[in-house]
Symmetry: C2
Amino acid sequence: MGDVHLEIGRPPAAERADAARNRQRILDAAARLMADQGPEAVTMNAVAQAAGIGVGTVYRRFGDVTQLLLALVDHRELQFQQSFLSGPAPLGPGEKPGERLRAFLHALTDHVAGNIEVMLAAENASPTAIYASGPYEGWHLHVSTLLRELRPGADATVLADLLLSFSPPSLIWHLTKGRGFTTGQIKASIDELLAGFWPQPGRTDH
Amino acid sequence: MGDVHLEIGRPPAAERADAARNRQRILDAAARLMADQGPEAVTMNAVAQAAGIGVGTVYRRFGDVTQLLLALVDHRELQFQQSFLSGPAPLGPGEKPGERLRAFLHALTDHVAGNIEVMLAAENASPTAIYASGPYEGWHLHVSTLLRELRPGADATVLADLLLSFSPPSLIWHLTKGRGFTTGQIKASIDELLAGFWPQPGRTDH
DNA sequence: ACAGCAATCGGATAGCTATCCGCTTGTTCG
DNA sequence: CGAACAAGCGGATAGCTATCCGATTGCTGT
């Protein structure tokens, strides 16, 4: 338990040498396009051309634009996952579930906000794809596990999805770029919303 | 206050006769395509062809696929809006803000679930477009107004966006079709999440 | 009526996603 | 080492979104 694989562009088994080489070429080309011209320049055609391979190969490796974009931030995703699975408290183990959950929701907001351009582009390409992605499964497993400790009688599966709905890229973008709020304000409102949901010893509640 | 216009495919001023005729043709054709072949058949090209007009005209009238799809459920949206603005309690006026808010979140979940196919297709075409749409503005105004009564010190703008994030089509789809839950279970979890947020006299809390 | 103008029309166009399938290449096993 | 085969390759293709602009048409005031 707790062993979650983020299978973004990773084949289940071993991979032929040319396939591995092409995956790397694709990722390099995509990263270059992203850095030079922003996420909207990362199209499957452009990536294929920049990598010097056929567009069919890009699709075989990464399935669709969303997965390719998520693969570009895979290392940050892994870092994030390690921080809440085995990092220092309050995000990692060692703190009470309520505090860990709060820390996680804050960290997730920052995580999304910190990669907003890529993540927004990924969501834009396919809003429903996130639910089937490795990262989302990892987040959901973590949140629902904490919820089961916190509220044994509740429906942790649904509650976890509801809590995760505070941080889709489109919402973070809307609140920060559209309405001009900071992530600090967003996190404060999340706290406020959940203040009565579980015991929060350290809260002043102003 | 409380006077919200749902400007879906409605021009600000008067409209030329041919333009009005074409808008109706477009809506008829789109509705027919939707009924016959489902929402994914409602493409701008297909609608233009079925309506017997140019594709440019469809774009001038409705801007993009998302707005065209939302226009197809405009009458239900108006009905929904009237139900929470001036319908019977607890959704309409006459009930305490907390109960009205709860009733609204439940009704919104049902509203989205009841039009899930169209709304999911609309969100799919452009996940961020919803925030700039008439319906969303109406919902947000209503929720933030209730929140200001309920929690005068809180940031009603952000809180309203967070509460509305419980009901995007993609999430409702994921929970119902993907995970197999009912809207009743979703609404129960929303209640549970918000049980501590405001006074809920009638709640048994099991 | 009708001239003039602004609004509208419509299809050509560019660029994107995703699929398909005949050809090529790495890998395995005798 | 070499054959056999599964895996991978890549570009042609279909269909979609969105834009653009010359041609057309409804509306207004005289």
